[in-house]
Symmetry: C2
Subunit: 401 residues, 2 copies
């Protein structure tokens, strides 16, 4: 018997650590001969583009390089599986490819949308009496999957955001003049990553002075009032704002395109607030969009996150080995002193649902996060991996077709 | 006798390593009692805001923290010293403060504009028969100071740019669709830092596919033609462009404010090209502005750069100890196998002049850099410093007033 693994959705710094976790655990599974990788997520199964990972991950060095390479080594897709009633042929094609390669289990590493695929496929296989297991392995920098203490990918993204914020605080506080720095951070619907921008507080630092999460309503006038208040205490005011924060009445600044999954592509709240401050307050102002580095900055990955991502790959394989399907591996809670507790949970309870930052972790005024949030995030960014370098840069694993 | 050191201009990741180099060498200078730090550059001397660094850099731990802290621990200024004929009182004030504190030498760590201050002040002190030495210590991520092989700050900025580009290449090549990524990199007049974006070529990588430096004229039509050509070979095309590249006829996109030193604040070429690609080519396109992290990302600093920055501080002090003034420490050339050669050079030959990327390091079409450029940059990004951390973040040195 063989197994296949694929990656989907937006990249993270540790999605390849989960791939490594699946690979290593599958090689320990006595019934398994070949671990296949499907290129471009589920599309690789639809198009029969599988690579034999046994050949490419044979050595310790190859495995180490895979672990330290950001983004998806097997590449990704944004393909949304149609409902089986609408397009049964797609399901038949997937089944045919898997049976052709004697696949007993399919592991899908991805976020919310990929979990929807795991749910649909596992339900389909059960309905047609196929023994193929379908298991999810979570990943998302957004940290918005339900039933989980946190998701792999988040810790590393949070470490990058906190590090960047901590360094930019140093950068922006050197001049004797009134200035505002606005830092726009990823997070369409939830403010988990933006909350990480407040981690410099753990050093007793006042900055960032204002933190806006999409969990709370936002208004331009209240923002200006908050800013003027903050300027009374600090000549440099630093603002962290989630890309998901929407400015009512200023839609022209923000694009409203809709992607395959019905999400809005949000961009520009930082630039938008920059213009607002320039117009209405008139001091020096700059906006910084941390952009895609948030999800791919493996050079500042959290070792904790890498270890957990790898372990979650293994947990999914071990569950499949005892016949589980339609489940996703998860860190369901944390023990005292921070001990991640692993389990599997029903993918249906995870797919298409969103976990928000608790309102009680945000201050009453809705312009800052409370120590509870920082205490939650801090253990997730701990540790620095040892990295193999060449020419002063990290070496990367590149898949061969 | 005492000495004073100050920092000026835009931050870098290693300007504090130079401060440490000045401090350590000055403490070795038998005649020196106190090493003062002037807060906010030359303004701290004008306003008599000096701090006793002996008290704050007493321990190895304090010194280690200073070295790993980005930006200017003594803060900065953008103050431009007027010509002595125009405002002799300013010079008298500076002299009075220095004499009050028994200062025998003033060390100014900064870029082109700070070197102008060193030149004017040293000339003034000589003209009035004052024995106070004024020495420059170079720093600029722009790498544009004349008479130097390279400048400290550049290597770390180049390492960040190359690392970010290398990771973003992984991020952007996972989907099966035509897309363009445009990365805007700092450099008002010169393309040194943008050239570093091409370092992933050392791994045999095709990306970035197009590299535009301000040393070469740029036209929107030629850019679109270059891009269409590149798209024939790669579905994902990655473009590195210097902020200093100007798009003729599209000035409305770019702000034209002028700062104290007569430089244009340039921003927006990346966003401008993004709009152009969306309008004229129509594929998925994204622009990323690396922004201020380029100059403050100490978490990915080059150890080579840190060591050189520290040594340049020491060289300036050692020169002052033998009576030099109006000079700046410099890495004037490199020996075989990359050995930095230190010396001092006349600050007048450095101030207000600009060193450009040689035209012969840029391809004939003006849309890429040649291996000569990569061979020049690569040794400067080598090595990773050991960093003291707490809570998963680097600890920083914060000056006490």
């Amino acid at each position: 018997m063989n197994v296949v693994v694929a990656q989907s959705g937006g990249p993270t710094a540790v999605i390849n650590a989960s791939l490594l976790g699946v690979y290593r655990a599958a090689r320990q599974w006595p019934q398994v001969d070949i671990v296949f990788g499907s290129l471009n997520g589920i599309e690789g199964i639809l198009n029969d583009r599988l690579v034999n990972l046994n050949e490419q991950l044979d050595t310790d060095e190859q495995q180490t390089l895979l672990r330290q390479t950001p983004s998806a080594a097997l590449r990704s897709c944004r393909y949304k599986l149609p409902a089986v009633e609408k397009d049964p042929a797609v399901y038949e094609t997937i089944r045919a490819t898997l049976e052709k390669h004697d696949i007993g289990a399919f592991f899908y590493i991805g976020g919310n949308d990929s979990m929807d695929t795991v749910d649909k496929l596992s339900t389909y296989f059960a309905s047609v009496g196929s023994p193929i297991c379908v298991m999810g392995v979570p990943k998302t920098i957004d940290n918005d999957l339900c039933l989980m203490d946190h998701t792999p990918g988040y810790g590393s993204a949070a470490k990058f955001v906190a590090t960047a914020m901590w360094e930019m605080i140093r950068d922006c506080t050197v001049y004797e003049l009134d200035s505002v720095l606005i830092v726009e951070i990823m997070g369409r619907d939830t403010g988990w990553l933006t909350a990480a921008a407040a981690l410099p507080r753990l050093f007793g630092c006042d900055a960032p002075h204002l933190v806006y999460l999409p969990e709370v309503d936002f208004s331009a006038e209240q923002f200006l009032e908050d800013l003027r208040e903050a300027q009374k205490k600090s000549r440099t005011v630093i603002v962290a704002v989630s890309e998901g924060v929407e400015l009512e009445g200023l839609d022209d600044f923000q694009s409203g395109k809709v992607d395959t999954f019905g999400h809005k592509y949000l961009s520009g709240i930082g630039k938008c607030l920059e213009e607002l401050v320039r117009d209405r307050i008139g001091c020096k102002v700059r906006s910084v969009e941390l952009n895609i580095l948030q999800r791919c900055a493996a050079h500042i990955a959290s070792e904790t996150d890498l270890e957990e991502a790898e372990q979650l790959g293994a947990v999914a394989v071990q569950a499949a080995a005892v016949g589980e399907t339609g489940q996703v591996s998860a860190i369901v809670s944390r023990g005292d002193g921070y001990t991640p507790l692993y389990d599997i949970v029903s993918v249906r309870e995870v797919a298409n649902k969103v976990k928000y930052v608790p309102r009680q972790w945000i201050n009453e005024a809705g312009n800052d996060v409370l120590p509870e949030a920082l205490n939650y995030i801090q253990p997730l960014i701990m540790g620095e991996p040892v990295v193999l370098t060449e020419n002063g840069l990290a070496r990367h694993f590149i898949i061969k077709e």
